[in-house]
Symmetry: C2
Subunit: 239 residues, 2 copies
DNA sequence: CGCTTTATTGACCCGAATCAAGTAGAGTGG
DNA sequence: CCACTCTACTTGATTCGGGTCAATAAAGCG
């Protein structure tokens, strides 16, 4: 089983043997989290960073009236809170959407590696800037796309990201999230998510039953979503 | 005139004299951009990074049907595309909302400084993670807040950010953006922005005439906006 | 002082929320 | 093995927030 962070980074730039070894060392301390459990809570001041090895996790923000918004969905290979190395205090929760296996790394250790290996440091920095780029794509979709396009965009993004870490085969992948979660990612009501999902299925471009997604017509889906993967920085070159 | 990036960073951590000098050296090459002009265009592969010294700039994304969405508003002290150091290609425009003075720094030079000064490198990294945190706050507001709360939140954020770089006096500041820009930041129509703005004025918590904003009741505005500045990482401590 | 851009207002309409019920599975325990 | 429960999913009816269209007023500004 290859470390998904290695896959994530190696897709974007060549990694030296030393760098791969450093990543392996950073991600030795494993832990299991049950679905629904919290990895990080609002108000925490983490002293270690969390990498997802298996499973899905969501960044959840709660408003005063109990409304929830999910600002990101994280998958294997994502450093969920690398930035906690730099930030004061978490302003939101990160919760396991499915059972997860994670790797914990103490901040001092992360810092030591980044100071010793500037190129690897840049790649970790890169991973946080890709997070920011995904946030921007979500902002655009929330602000100016129809629910149908937004949902299609979400599926395109998930397909590409899961593909990078080896979690797709052909155009099939597992996406074990509820319509409730999806509603809180798209900023819609559950009812409307359900109806939009039916519209999307009706196009025939994609099937989604239970946790199994299958993209039947990638180009058509891309078209609906106006999806351009540039923001995911999939080009491999020296960084 | 103090370098606004120094103000931005010095608010979050102590800077050594060497670090301040390095920042000054990085930001020597000034340039003027007229309102409406492009700093960066979608598709560009920048080989230098842009810091805003004076003025406002917006990250603008255009959809196929001509709709525009603004994913971020940048102010003096913001490194608008520090991340272009790491990314392939810009997937959006950055345009001057007002006349701007910017500083350009070649990527090799930025890289050299980050490799030589790991602490300063971390602070620059921090600035990009604060961008990401602001993106998340916008996602939450777009997805789950009422237009009135969203607008109030936007004003709270702008006040705090402008305050950090010395562009406020008491609760007054200049915010020279049109309702058209605002609509594209809030994901609303111009008409509705106009009406929401009237509702906000009607509360009496804030006045906004032309480019002049004045917050009359900060606590009440914060309340409406459910604004908690934690995500802006204003605490000063070693990073 | 025209000309263009921005701000404002009103009428109308539609997309998505809300409310309310009902269905379907997946566990769980007797 | 079946009743019970809990959660997720689905559907219909109704409401309402916000979009669209259209016209006018008010600034800027060359």
């Amino acid at each position: 089983m290859i470390n998904p962070l290695v896959m994530f980074l190696a897709r974007r730039d060549d990694l030296s043997a030393d760098e791969i070894a450093a990543i392996e060392t950073l991600t030795l301390n494993h832990q299991e989290i049950k679905a629904g459990g919290a990895m990080i809570r609002q108000g925490d001041r983490p002293h270690s960073s969390i990498l997802i090895l298996e499973g899905f996790a969501a960044r959840a923000h709660y408003l005063a009236d109990g409304k929830r918004m999910i600002s990101a969905l994280h998958i294997p290979g994502d450093y969920v809170d690398l930035h906690s190395l730099l930030l004061d205090q978490m302003d939101h929760d990160v919760t396991a959407v499915t059972d997860c296996r994670i790797a914990l790394t103490g901040h001092p250790e992360v810092r030591r590696v980044t100071e010793r290996m500037p190129h690897l440091a840049r790649l970790l920095w890169l991973s946080t800037t890709i997070d920011a780029a995904m946030h921007r794509a979500w902002i655009v979709a929330l602000g100016r796309m129809s629910p149908l396009s937004h949902m299609a965009h979400f599926l395109c993004e998930m397909y590409v990201r899961l593909n990078v870490v080896g979690h797709t085969s052909d155009y099939n992948f597992r996406l074990p999230i509820t319509q409730i979660d999806l509603a809180d990612m798209l900023g819609l009501s559950v009812v409307h998510v359900n109806r939009t999902l039916q519209d999307l299925r009706a196009t025939g471009y994609v099937t989604w039953a239970g946790a199994s997604v299958s993209i039947k017509d990638w180009n058509a889906l891309r078209e609906v979503a106006q999806f351009d993967p540039v923001y995911l920085n999939l080009q491999k070159h020296p960084r």
